[in-house]
Structures are given as C-alpha cells and as structure tokens.
C-alpha cells in the first residue's frame, strides 16, 4: 500500500491547479479517494468522524450484491442448458453465465461512469461514487439477452435525466438503476417482457428447445392463469427459475439483506414495512378472491418476481427514499401495497415492483414533508397549553 500512496503523491501535483493535467483533477481525485480514505481534518468545533464515508458505504452495498450476482451468473448458464436439454458441469454453466453477464456489467459501468466523469469535469465537481452501486444494480435487473447498446442508452439516459439534471449524487428523485430499467421497459418492450427474454438464447429461433419447455417467469405464468406450472416454493427460494439476472435467488438476496442490516446501511424499517404492506394487500386479495390470481398465498407471492430484490436493494436507496422514521414506514408500506396491486390487478404489467418503487420515490419528499409538519404541529400544541 505504501508504494501506491507514494506513487499517488508523486503524480498529484500534475493534477492540481496549474498542473499538466489540471483538467482531469476530479478524475484523479475520484481514484485517489477510492483507494485511500481522504485525510481531511476538521478545523472547527468538535466532530465525531467515522471512517465510513460515501465510498465505503457504497462498497458495502456492492459486497452485499455479490451473492445474488454470483448466483445469477450460475443461473444464467443453468437455465440455458436446461432449456436446450444438455447436462453440463457447474463450472461450464458458470462460465457460460459469466460470458453473458460480464459484458452487461462492463457496459453499464463504462457508460454510466463516462457520463459521471464528463459532468464532473464540466461542472468542476468531485466525481461521486453513487454510480458504483447503480452500475452494479443495472445489470442485475436486466434480462440476460438484453442488447448491450440498449443497456448503454438506458444507463446514459438514467444518469443524465435521473441524476445529473437534479444536481448529481444525493439529489436524485428517482432511483437511477430503476429508471434505466423503466426506460428499456417502455422504450423496447419486446426485450424486457414476454417469455423468451429471460433465458439466454431462447429468443433466437434457431435454438433447439426441449419440447414443452417455456421460458416464462413465475409471474408471467401467474398472469396467464397457468398456476399449476409455477415452480415450487423451494425452487423460487433457491432461485433456479427464469428471471432478471440478479432477482431469482431469494436466498442470496436475504444474505445481502443481512449484510446491509448488520452494517446498518439499509433501513430495516423500509424492508419490514414493505413486506407487511405486501402481505396485508395479498390477504385482502385472498379475502376478495375474485379470480385465481387473488387466491395466491402470501408466501408464494413474495417469492415470485423481483419483489424481494426491490425491497432490499431498491426501496432502501438512502437518497430516493424517505428520510424520517415514520416516513420510512409509510413509504415502505405503500411500496408493498402498490406492487401487489399492480401485479394482481393490472394484467399489462406482470411485475409491479419497479413501478411501485418509482411511484413512491416521487412521493417520498411529500411524505417527509407531512411527517415533519405533523411533528411541528404536535410540538406547537404542547407548548401552547
């Protein structure tokens, strides 16, 4: 590490004001603070300085995503070889999946960070590390066969329109990763929905598929009223089902959730209240029971689709979610309710999680405002007596 530090100190003057590469100052700064905790010293007043900063926070989120990602990579291979009816070993499946998933990750990071760096240079800001997580989330919520240029276009759109126009990291109203997915969902629906996009190679008509094999996700099966074909709870929990790359394994997502909760980075309130909201909504549907979809049990509903992934990694985004404690409960609860409502009642959108979170993102400031106002009013009443 000493060697790295010395090297950075040596080239640093080049990037400072008047140096050879002063235009690339924020780029250098980004790499330096990524490698080392900045040795900032507080000048005035007493402060408690924790070693955890934005970069460290983001790194932990990325670490918590890794189980789901690794499983997703293996699952891409597993689903592909199951669809064409071949049996191959663990490593071959993983390698196949790696070759499919890795380019998407690279494209997402390169295009997103490219935009971030350009904006940082133009606006003379520091490069913010918010994209470290978004760049990892974007590939994980994409279907595996998504064309790479679409990922690039969607990422650029999401970073510019979702983040930079509002002032960069920390100012965005919407979760950039979900915005990228929503962009592809509405702009190129044929690549983001249907039965053929979730398993690699299935959309290619020349691929020989095993007789009777369907690439439909559990949610699509439910929307088509084919409830008998839905995989068992165990399969959906472990994650050997078709779906977006990172969302299938509920086990891996729960490991990630545990990391986030233990390190105190994601809000347990939001996660729990979202699950409570969803379960209450499903129980209401069960009571109504107007059609077969409404009769699906809560456990099965929670295991299907991207609900859990959205709750753990998307809804808890510290920027676009609510900030107050009461607000978090309301926000999470409404996400749970809305996602199940869209899922069951609106046949056009098999998965409601993305739209539910984006909708509640836009309501988050309003919820916070009323929570704060309620508190102000309560305290005013107390003093008025």
């Amino acid at each position: 590490m000493d060697f790295l530090r010395k090297y950075l100190d040596k080239i640093k003057p080049n990037f400072e004001e008047g140096g050879k590469f002063s235009k690339l100052r924020s780029t250098f700064d980004a790499f330096e603070t990524f490698l080392f905790v900045p040795n900032k010293v507080t000048n005035r007043g007493a402060h408690v300085r924790d070693s955890i900063d934005l970069k460290r926070t983001m790194s932990i989120v990325v670490i918590s995503l890794i189980p789901a990602l690794l499983f997703g990579i293996w699952n891409v291979g597993f689903q592909h070889f199951r669809a064409i009816g071949e049996t191959v070993g663990f490593w071959e499946m993983s390698w196949f999946g790696f070759l499919k998933v890795f380019p998407i990750i690279v494209v997402s990071y390169v295009s997103g960070l490219g935009v971030e760096f350009i904006f940082a240079q133009i606006r003379k800001h520091e490069v913010n590390e918010g994209f470290l997580v978004s760049g990892m989330l974007i590939p994980m919520i994409m279907p595996v066969d998504v064309p790479l240029w679409m990922v690039a276009v969607a990422t650029i759109f999401a970073v510019i329109i979702g983040k930079e126009v509002f002032g960069g990291t920390g100012m965005n109203i919407f979760n950039p990763a979900l915005l990228a997915r929503a962009f592809i969902f509405f702009a190129y629906p044929s690549k983001m929905s249907g039965d053929f996009v979730w398993i690699s190679g299935l959309s290619d008509t020349s691929t020989k598929v095993v007789d009777g094999f369907s690439g439909a996700t559990p949610l699509a099966l439910a929307a088509q009223n084919q409830f008998e074909k839905i995989p068992s709870l165990m399969e959906m929990f472990i994650g050997t089902i078709p779906g977006s790359i990172g969302e299938t394994s509920k086990l891996a997502i729960l490991i990630g959730a545990a990391i986030l909760i233990i390190t105190g980075i994601a809000s347990l309130r939001i996660m729990l209240s979202a699950i409570v909201g969803a379960v209450l909504m499903i129980l209401t549907f069960n009571l109504v029971g107007a059609n077969q979809y409404m009769m699906v049990s809560p456990l099965q509903q929670l295991m299907m689709g991207g609900f859990l992934f959205g709750v753990v990694f998307m809804a808890t985004d510290p920027v676009s979610s609510t900030q107050t404690a009461t607000g978090k409960i309301i926000y999470g609860f409404l996400i749970g309710v809305m996602s199940m409502l869209i899922r069951v009642v609106n046949p056009a959108y098999p998965e409601g999680m993305m739209l539910a979170i984006l909708l509640l993102n836009s309501f988050a400031p309003l919820i916070d405002y009323y929570v704060v106002q309620a508190n102000v009013n309560r305290r005013l009443k107390r003093t008025a007596k």
Binding site: P147, W149, M150, I161, V165, F183, A187, Y188, P189, K191
Partner: protein, 206 residues
C-alpha cells in the same frame, strides 16, 4: 420603427419563446408531436389564429368592456379556429384527422389567451399581428424540434419517409417506443429548456 417590428418577430423565437420561456401551450406540444407533419400543420394553424385574433382584438380593444373581454376574445378565437379547422378538413383531410380534437382545442391554447391579454389588449393592431406571427413561429420551432426527434427515434421516419436504413434494423437497432409516449415529449422540452438556458444566462431564474 422597423427595428421594433423585427424584435417583435424574433424575440418570441428565442428569449421570449412561448413554450420554453413563457411556458404556455405545453399541452398541445406533448399531444401532437409524435410525427412532424401534424406538428407543423398544428404550428402553422396556431400561428395564423394567434396573428389574426391578436389583430382583431387589438382593433376592438378600446370598445370592449373590460368585464366581458374574455368572452369577446373567445368568440373571435373560436370563429378563427373553426375557419382553420374547415380549411384543414378541405385540403389536408388525413392530417386533420390525425390532429383530431387538438385543432378545436387551439381555442384553449394558453398562447392565444396569453398574447391577447398581455399584448393585443394594450397595443395597436399591426404590432399585435406581428407579435402573433412571432409567437406562432416560436411555438412552431419548438414543435418542429420535438417532433423531429420523436419521429426519427420513435418511428425511424421523417415527414413519413423512412430514413433509417434497413441494415440498422438487421444489426439489432430498434425504434424507441418511449418516444411515442407523451412523457418523452416532456423530457425533450426539458432538455431544450436546459440547453437554451445554459446558452442564455439571463433566462436563469434565481
């Protein structure tokens, strides 16, 4: 004097643009800009209606009782809109069908009422006429930019002609379905406002 008229004509195109600066007429600019042809027809219709209603109201301005001025303005505008609508139906029937209700809705277009109230009621007919033309041009320009982008990226055509070579589609290019939906028009307007304000710093509000 000539100089004054020129500025009446050119100011609404950039610094006092009805859509991006005065923020009037957003509704129709989202609704009719999927393709260029209807968008431009719409722009020209609005320009004609604005110009003539401005001129007519301006020449009547001293005789209109203040309390019923909105009704009088609406009568004049409605008459002009019906004339334009009939002409469109007679000569460009398919475009008129595409525009459907939006030609009729020119009556409620904020640009018209805005210009009548802000300009025609306090100026002479000829400057009012020029002001109407200028605002119509500004409106048409923004409509042209939005519809060009939306038609090119959303349908791969311009003015109904295919411009994106079939090779692109074979290579995996696809039309962007989001461009067909109104939200994208709003985002494009936002981007236009962004570019315009970064070029003209005096437009930035504090």
């Amino acid at each position: 004097m000539a100089n004054k008229y020129t500025s009446l004509l050119t100011k609404p195109i950039n610094l006092e643009n009805p859509i991006t600066v005065q923020v009037l007429g957003i509704c129709s600019s989202l609704a009719v800009t999927v393709q260029m042809k209807p968008a431009l027809v719409m722009g020209v219709s609005v320009m004609i209606v604005t110009a003539f209603s401005n001129a007519i109201i301006s020449s009547l301005r001293n005789t209109i009782p203040n309390r019923i001025r909105i009704i009088v303005q609406l009568v004049v505008v409605a008459a002009l809109v019906i004339i334009v609508d009939q002409i469109l139906k007679a000569y460009v029937y398919d475009v008129s069908k595409q525009l459907s209700v939006f030609v009729g809705l020119i009556i409620t277009n904020c640009i018209l009422m805005g210009r009548l109230e802000a300009f025609a009621m306090s100026n002479k007919p000829w400057p009012s006429f020029i002001d109407g033309i200028g605002n119509g041009l500004g409106y048409t320009l923004i409509l042209a930019i939005i519809s060009f982008t939306r038609e090119l990226l959303g349908s791969g055509t311009i003015w109904g002609y295919k411009v994106i070579p079939p090779v692109f589609y074979q290579l995996g290019y696809e039309n962007n379905g989001l461009m067909i939906l109104p939200p994208m028009a709003l985002i494009i307007i936002g981007i236009i406002i962004w570019i315009q304000r970064s070029r003209n710093k005096q437009l930035i509000e504090n």
